[in-house]
Amino acid sequence: MQQLFAFLFRSRVLGFFLFLELISFWLIFSYNNLYNSYLFNTSNIFAGSVLETNHNIDQYFQLDEINEKLLAENALLREELAKKNLGMMGYDTIKGNAHVIPARVINNEFRKPENYLTLDKGSLSQIEPGMAVISREGAVGIIKSVSSHFSTVASILNRKLMTSSQLNKTNTLCTVQWNLESPLVADVKYIPRHINIGIGDTVSTSGYNAVFPAEIMLGTIVSYQLPDESPFYVAKIKLSSDLSSIDAVYVIRNPLKGELDSLQTVL
């Protein structure tokens, strides 16, 4: 017995090392699930507030640029208002049964295989995991985890995220997934070979998964091939929203999501 204790005492450093490694790898593997939220990410209150201060300092030096963006956005909003007054507004799904929560991006990454954004709004602004995030230009990502004041977003530049989408010309269902190549380009998969596609065709969300509303712009096709044996096209799109310089986003709250999801699981 004494020898056992002596042995344990001698190998205490190695034992402690293995214990710490176990914790680390448990953290790595438990975070791998896209929708699970854990303490150690940028949506917790400590990291969030530090990043917010950091962002505020940064913003001071970018005021000119931000001003220009706001002017551009204002112009666009005026245009949409005018359209609405004429009864020609698109985005019917958003208008019909969803709420829009504006938020600012306080931390942004786009160079890793799995990229996340941090927003300055959280559960107090009624943001919940699983909601869609869009920008003026198009789809941005899905809320992953939420604290009371901050939330993290798995952006579409995340190789684990497959977005149900459609080719607007023919309403063909397809899937958009990032390919790690560049923050501006993503793959479009599962377009069947009997469909005629061309460069410049637009791809948008399909609205089938109840996360993204239908017809949120994803991008335009920049290149495609049709390998001889493949039943599907191999195509790439240029993403409509440039996630490397993104500041203002809108979180889409779909009150009917729960109803739709539970109905689909019954099937």
Binding site: L20, I23, Y31, R111
Partner: protein, 171 residues
């Protein structure tokens, strides 16, 4: 026998670890070279401390970086691993200078940089990119990132150390 300078250690902590957070996503050259200069704190941590304390310092430093980069466990696991055998490695490099506790660039000299700092940084980056991409294939794809990041991190670590540490006065 010199004593550990807590003042120097605090400067190291601020210069390497605290400063890394605001610069984490900004110190990127040509989209391939990343600078993980927080590693300097572990590289220049005083020699001869309690090994359990060393492991805890490595783990917490890594966890702190993970907290801000949405990679829980990634940096923590690699830093703990580095800290396990760091002292043995360093002791072998500094064989003829017994009793040195504080480590800086003037004590390590060029030999220490080539045989200790550079390989340690390379090992750290190799493991970070390997675990992050999750496959050997990814490792080959990102070899340019690993090698250029190693050089970038090494330069920033040495530069920060030149600013913080004082040149020893010969009596």
């Amino acid at each position: 026998m010199n004593r550990v300078s807590w003042k120097l250690l605090t400067f190291y902590f601020v210069g390497y670890v605290i400063l890394q957070i605001p610069l984490l996503h900004k110190f990127v050259l040509f989209n391939v070279a990343f600078s993980f200069f927080y590693l300097g704190f572990l590289v220049f941590f005083p020699l001869g401390q309690n090994p359990i304390l060393r492991l805890i310092i490595g783990f917490l430093t890594g966890l702190y970086i993970d907290l801000f980069s949405n990679t829980p466990g990634l940096h923590a696991s690699v830093c703990t691993f580095i800290m396990l055998f760091r002292d043995t490695w360093l002791m072998a490099i500094l064989e003829n200078q017994k009793g040195i506790l504080d480590i800086n660039i003037y004590i390590l000299k060029m030999r220490g940089v080539w045989l200790y700092v550079l390989p340690l940084i390379f090992l750290h980056h190799l493991m970070i990119f390997w675990i992050n991409y999750g496959s050997w294939m990814g490792l080959f794809m990102t070899f340019d990132q690993i090698s250029s990041s190693t050089i970038f991190s090494l330069l920033s670590i040495l530069l920060i150390n030149l600013v913080i540490s004082k040149k020893p006065i010969r009596i």
